[in-house]
């Protein structure tokens, strides 16, 4: 190249320079362009366009900024950029379902999004700025968005106490407890009760080896593939407690052998008075009379029976105790008598009350049970098992422990098997990589895992010992929700402070009252100060509500106050002393501060006030829509026929002013009565009196027998 041409660019080089600089410029331009096209920026812009199409544009765009929006709550570990795209989340005018996502407002909930963030409840990756990263499971983030169906699980993460707004979660927790899941698994917030399944120390005195074999092979309550529950072949709503285990023929025989020799304490048969037996055994009325007593004592409040009406068989009765349709073919008659006389002697923690029996009643009822509540085919398919051999018993003992039976059933001398299954108290916070999916072809996430495991335990782990349940979709989702809510202890102290603990106030009275209270197991159905069952009215303030004499009369002869109730208080054949002890304690202790008897003197009620009250009741407020007086009126509230004899005026006044202040979840709406109206209505209700009379001759005879029996 000549020297003069050095330093001079040829046309060709220029061209190369020009092209490459344009290319560089172009490549550089891609970066801002890509930035401009980022997902969240597109959502930002489309929100602005959307807001401009709404009538309240100005309000919607008041705090609009084109950059990333973030909720930062350092104490709770929350860095949530969700509001970058979900921009209308707090705009009340965007709550309409016609508003497209992601701009629709959040439904009104008690927690403000600015104070809580989003991922605390919805999970997902808060700092992410891309739709898929924020919502889905990625390699770096294994907590995807929780499907809305299970969102109540998040309420349960902090609210250990049950909330009225989360029925699905409450149902799930209830199912976990009722199905005795806590027998094998550690569950957050669900304690192991004193007794899960029945104690089997003396099971050999109660049932035969054949019956145990049948029970293990085919438990009474069966959930079929379509999630229909049947008890002894009849459809029911009851939850199965004893699940079906996968047992081989040898295992069945061995377990039945082992259990049938469990008879630590020999049964001491009770001799029913020979005169009673002589008087009744030949009487054709024996069985019908036994059935009548069985009904009058309201055994059906806790136990159900299969009843055939018009060709259709239905289970009728409660589900606190076991179903009894075929119990006569199950239990040893001597055991039955001993059990009915003193259930607590056989099972100290049973919920069955100890009734006061006369020999006559006991004979009639047990004869009814052993002759009528039977099924000759119950053990038809069971092979002859004969005497248990030592070898079978040994094997049965081993299997009893291997299968985890001792998790729920205790036998004297055996250590209870706590934590037999995996600890589930932090399952809800687990990452998918911590779970064993086995060969199961399901999406690898926590929700699918829980549901697959619940539906078929063997599908994710061939060696699973968990028995097979068949759930319906609702129950499956409820249990999944409850399990998802168990995330273990909150990770940060700020979240720890937010936990609303479950209120556990076991009501443990002492003294004479406690003895009677334990004998009749009042807490099985009634609630006392937040503790107990919810089948019957809450008795926390019963002393303020009811007159003492009425309580005594009711305990001696329970009447139904609510006409539609099928389940009623059983007749305990209570002695006068027991009734007086209960009534005295209730009137002394179960008092509500708002219903102060000293402020009201029943003498101040004049007939004129009562007449006005009657008018208000019948015409202005039409209380008969829900309450019955003298046979007419509605079925929703209690019958007021004997309101004057039953209720105290102080309670009625306080109730009329604000029912929810006395019983928070009562359905009676709070009204806007004036003081005069309250007094007039109270005056009227106090005039309503009706002595408790037996309704028919049959029950008259029965109540005579009852008093007679209790006196013995």
């Amino acid at each position: 190249m000549p020297a003069e041409e050095m330093g001079k660019l040829t046309g060709r080089t220029r061209l190369i320079f020009a092209i490459s600089s344009v290319v560089f410029l172009g490549v550089l331009a891609i970066s801002p362009f890509k930035d401009f096209r980022r997902e969240w920026k597109q959502y930002k812009r489309s929100y602005r366009r959307f807001a401009q199409s709404r009538p309240d544009t100005k309000k919607l765009l008041a705090d609009y900024r084109p950059d990333i929006d973030q909720i930062w709550l350092p104490g709770m570990n929350v860095v949530d950029r969700c509001t970058t795209c979900h921009q209308g989340i707090t705009a009340a005018s965007l709550s309409d379902q016609a508003v497209p996502h992601p701009f629709r407002a959040h439904p009104p909930i008690p927690h403000n999004v600015r104070d809580w963030g989003c991922t605390v409840c919805h999970r997902g990756q808060g700092p992410a700025t891309e739709v898929s990263e924020a919502h889905e499971s990625t390699l770096a983030w294994e907590q995807p968005i929780l499907p809305t169906r299970f969102i109540q699980a998040s309420c349960g993460t902090c609210h250990y106490a049950d909330l009225p707004q989360t029925p699905q979660l409450t149902r799930g927790r209830q199912l976990l407890a009722e199905l005795n899941c806590q027998g094998c698994h550690r569950l957050q917030g669900i304690e192991r009760p004193v007794m899960l399944g029945p104690d089997l120390t003396n099971i050999g005195t109660k049932v035969s080896r054949e019956w145990i074999y049948k029970w293990l092979k085919e438990p009474r309550t069966i959930l079929d593939k379509d999630a229909n529950v049947t008890v002894n072949g009849y459809e029911t709503e009851e939850e199965p407690r004893m699940p079906k285990f996968r047992l081989t023929e040898t295992e069945l025989r061995a377990l039945a052998a082992y259990l049938s020799v469990q008879r630590t304490e020999a049964l001491a048969p009770y001799k029913i008075d020979a005169r009673v037996v002589a008087a009744w055994s030949k009487n054709p009325e024996l069985i019908p009379q036994g059935e009548l007593r069985f009904r009058q004592m309201f055994c059906s409040t806790c136990h159900s029976l299969a009843v055939t009406r018009a060709g259709e068989t239905k289970m009728i009765g409660g589900d606190i105790g076991p179903e009894l349709t075929k119990v006569g073919s199950k239990v040893n008659p001597d055991w039955l008598i001993a059990w009915l006389r003193d259930p607590h002697g056989y099972l100290p923690h049973t919920r069955m009350p100890r009734y006061g029996w006369s020999d006559e009643d006991l004979y009639k009822v047990t004869q009814y049970i052993t002759t009528k509540l039977t099924d000759s085919d119950l053990l038809a398919n069971v092979p002859q098992l004969g005497q248990a051999t030592e070898q079978e018993i040994q094997l049965g003992h081993r299997l009893f422990l291997e299968k985890g039976c001792a998790s729920c059933h205790s036998i004297e001398g055996l250590n209870p098997q706590k934590d037999f299954g995996p600890d589930l108290s932090a399952l809800g916070g687990k990452n998918a990589s911590e779970l064993e999916f086995g060969a199961a072809k399901i999406p690898h996430n926590l929700v699918s895992y829980i549901q697959a495991k619940l539906q078929d335990p063997v599908s994710v782990n061939p060696a699973a010992r968990m028995p097979q349940y068949n759930w319906n979709q609702g129950d499956l989702d409820a249990i999944t929700t409850a399990l998802l809510s168990m995330k273990g202890a909150p990770p940060t102290s700020a979240l720890q402070n937010l936990v609303v603990p479950r209120k556990e106030v076991a009501f443990r009275p002492t003294g004479a009252f406690a003895e009677v209270y334990e004998r009749y197991k009042c807490y099985t159905c009634h609630k006392f100060n937040g503790y107990g069952g919810d089948l019957a009215p809450d008795l926390t303030y019963e002393g303020s509500r009811a007159n003492r004499q009425w309580i005594v009369d009711f305990l001696k002869n329970p009447q139904t106050l609510r006409p539609t109730l099928i389940l009623r208080m059983p007749q305990f054949n209570m002695s006068d002393k027991d009734a007086a002890t209960l009534a005295d304690y209730m009137t002394m202790v179960f008092q509500h501060p708002a219903a102060n008897p000293t402020t009201i003197d029943s003498r101040q009620f004049t007939p004129a006030m009562a007449a006005l009250g009657k008018q208000l009741y019948e015409v202005k407020y039409q209380c008969q829509a829900c309450h019955t007086i003298g046979g007419t009126g509605g079925y929703v509230g209690p019958n007021l026929n004997n309101a004057g004899g039953w209720l105290t005026p102080a309670w009625v006044e306080a109730w009329l002013r604000n029912p929810q202040a006395l019983v928070p979840d009562t359905i009676e709406p709070r009204r806007n009565f004036t003081d005069d109206e309250v007094r007039a209505l109270t005056a009227y209700l106090m005039t309503l009196r009706q002595s408790i009379k037996p309704q028919s001759t049959a029950s008259a005879a029965a109540s005579h027998t009852a008093t007679h029996g209790a006196g013995q």
Partner: protein, 163 residues
Amino acid sequence: MRLRIWISALLLLTLAGFPGCRKHAEVAKSDPLLAAYDTEADWTDAQRIIPLSYQQAQGKRIFYQQCVWCHADATPAGPSNRSNLTPVPPLLNDGAALNAESDEFMQNIVTLGGSAMGKSPMMPPYGKTLSAEEVHSVIAFARAIAQPQYQPPARAGSQYSAK
């Protein structure tokens, strides 16, 4: 010169292709039942499951606690009180009777009671028992289960919708 034009045209074309490279947001699979907060079986056709939003589900809860006793034919505790009452209260899903009523009317009759709105005094006022929000949610639930289906009035700012 021609070469330059060609090259710049080529560059422009390349650039124009870039937007095509961005990831398309996946179209969400929309099964209304899976996305629903809760569901309710149609009262007239048990096979049909109606998806409920959060608000409607809250309404369902309050309905089964407070209203079911008179506004349904079966209750959790057995037979309904409905047949005892004259005039017979409408079923909550009775679209023929309730679809024509405005949201304001529905809200008032629940809050203030039947007598305040010229209807049966047997309907008690719930204004002191339920919050305004709870009343809204019950109405939203009624709209969701209405048979025939509820069509919101065609005007802006309607608060509750059936869908």
